[in-house]
Symmetry: C2
Amino acid sequence: MSDNRDLRIDRQRLMDSLETLGQLGRKADGSCCRLALTDEDKLGRDLVVSWMKHLGLEVKVDRVGNILGLLPGSETLPPVMTGSHIDTVATGGKLDGCYGVLAGLEALRTVKEAGIVTRHPLAVAVFTNEEGARFQPDMLGSLVYVGGLGVEETLAAPISGGSTIGEALARIGYAGSEEPGSIVPAAFIEAHIEQGPILTSGVGRIGAVKDLQGISWQEVTIQGAANHAGTTPMNLRRDAAWGAAQVICFVHDLALELGGSQVGTVGSVKLDPGLINVIPREAVLTVDLRNPLESRLQEAEQRLAGFLETLAVETGLETSLRPLSRTEPVVFDDHIIDVIRQSAELMGQPYLIMTSGAGQDAQMLARICPSAMIFVPSIGGISHSPLEATNPDDLELGANVLLQAMLKLAE
Amino acid sequence: MSDNRDLRIDRQRLMDSLETLGQLGRKADGSCCRLALTDEDKLGRDLVVSWMKHLGLEVKVDRVGNILGLLPGSETLPPVMTGSHIDTVATGGKLDGCYGVLAGLEALRTVKEAGIVTRHPLAVAVFTNEEGARFQPDMLGSLVYVGGLGVEETLAAPISGGSTIGEALARIGYAGSEEPGSIVPAAFIEAHIEQGPILTSGVGRIGAVKDLQGISWQEVTIQGAANHAGTTPMNLRRDAAWGAAQVICFVHDLALELGGSQVGTVGSVKLDPGLINVIPREAVLTVDLRNPLESRLQEAEQRLAGFLETLAVETGLETSLRPLSRTEPVVFDDHIIDVIRQSAELMGQPYLIMTSGAGQDAQMLARICPSAMIFVPSIGGISHSPLEATNPDDLELGANVLLQAMLKLAE
């Protein structure tokens, strides 16, 4: 492979691909809306498949709509795979997911055009419904790919609006025939925007992602008593909003106290009845806790549960906790991380060994093959927004690091 | 008047009247929905007017729909007036407002049937749109009656749905010809359910209401920055929900610290975008502060404003405050309070000199004539609910205290 160390992707072609895909489902505010299995998602899929076919890749679509584009190697071996997703949230940017797919496609284009045939085949994947914005769970396609969820169960699951996932796949022409996961990669690398502010603060232009936070989503319900805001003395109140405020402060303080990579967020609070002159009867809030260490994440969950019990005893409010979603932390493969690190060094650029705070398809692939991720900086740490952006130099650099890492792994 | 000290209202007739009026606009959950100037409000008005006419009262309807029923006195003097409202919130009970009107009507029935002619005329009033549930402001009819809002301005004001207040009054047949406030009462007493838990805790069966809390409604906006809940370290966050929690805790602690009758409520909190995995960009919350002392209410408002400034400096969140509504405390007339007290003593029942936490029509009438209120206990302190209830013994007692107080004032 030493011959190919000077190989570089075509920056303009990468930027053009991102821009072309990003125009599909674009809204007036500049955001992209290609919710999974909608007409807009179909437009995006059709475009990427047309590019794959134009490049001469063998395109396979599996039963849950995951798309694989394969470039043969010199030997009959499992492929070195890259990829991500092209579905978006309702107000997405043009990079989240798409960058991983199109940087991968650009890497394969570069290899093919250079006339290089690697020992392992190369592959680029587009996984179905990573965002989970239209229907749950998120990371659906990659979850099914690695056997974490049954195909039949997935196809029969309802989508709000009356159809099932199976019907929605058939409607847009992506109910494929391949069995998900029938091709087990030799290795998987996903390139992605960081979606956070760490790289953008100047500590590195490339992230070699060593692990991924475990994510605990829970719903907290606080039951008090609705009463007149004017006529009910403070000492006779059972104020659900005040209980909710205690929980928000606790989650914030807990994350600071546990330190490290622990984060805690209350993103949604709903008060009932929610009127200016009525003491709230009920508060329902979401708690998002994340830590790359399972033991620490469990500690955070236990501390929250304990706090809610104490709050109930001390205030007369009723508190309850309902799990919504839970993923354990993922530790990526040391060898793949090392290959990414070497590629960044080859490019002469500063890199950071780091943790992903967001869930990604790579965490699913890590269950069946050695996996890791490459991060490029997100300007301002912003994603899921029309303001989502990355410096073109960084997009180019990330794709070159991916290219070199894939060449190395496919040797 | 000493001859009439044994005069008592007809308990069954009062209960029947409350039940008959309460059936109009009744919903499946048992609540009453007679929003101001709707068809249901018209039904209620027609019923009460028919009772007034049946009793032989002179019925006058003014230009904003306030209804007066007058029983002549032996001299041409200003009337001793009672009354309240019969409009309800969307999920009202059958007592709020209606009790004041029907206890007043029952008092006049009792006087008339006993063949008593008082020196002053007696009057019972039904004021338009006390609740403000369908259109603002609340206490509209009594506000116009005392000259606090112009008639033309009121009639031209829009109601959501396309019409104006004037059109809505004409539609239901209550665009009267009297000039609001042309009859200035000699005194005004409003009977009302307490809508709070003080009397029901056993300290008295009758409240002689000496004052009414000033009410300050403000909207607080906290601006932070939306960011990914997983990838944004705690120290780089500007979390609007956390800011909102600080405000909720401050309002609660402030009310406890100021003590006395000070109350503080955050009844509504809206987070944007309000998603489980996004740090909220913005929180908009309402703050309801009440105190019967204007100086203390101003202190509470100033302390809140100061807290928001400090919060902004210390956290990097932007905070702002918008006034929504402000009424000064009302101090009722010492003589009227004393007459109510004497009536309760005459009935041999424990009474409490107390403060009203809610806004009432009597606070408007207090601007033009000596006024006060009689409270009866609300079971559980509940109102604006199908569960709103008062013991029939207390309803009877309150009407008798009202009857005796009006006889005394009309001497």
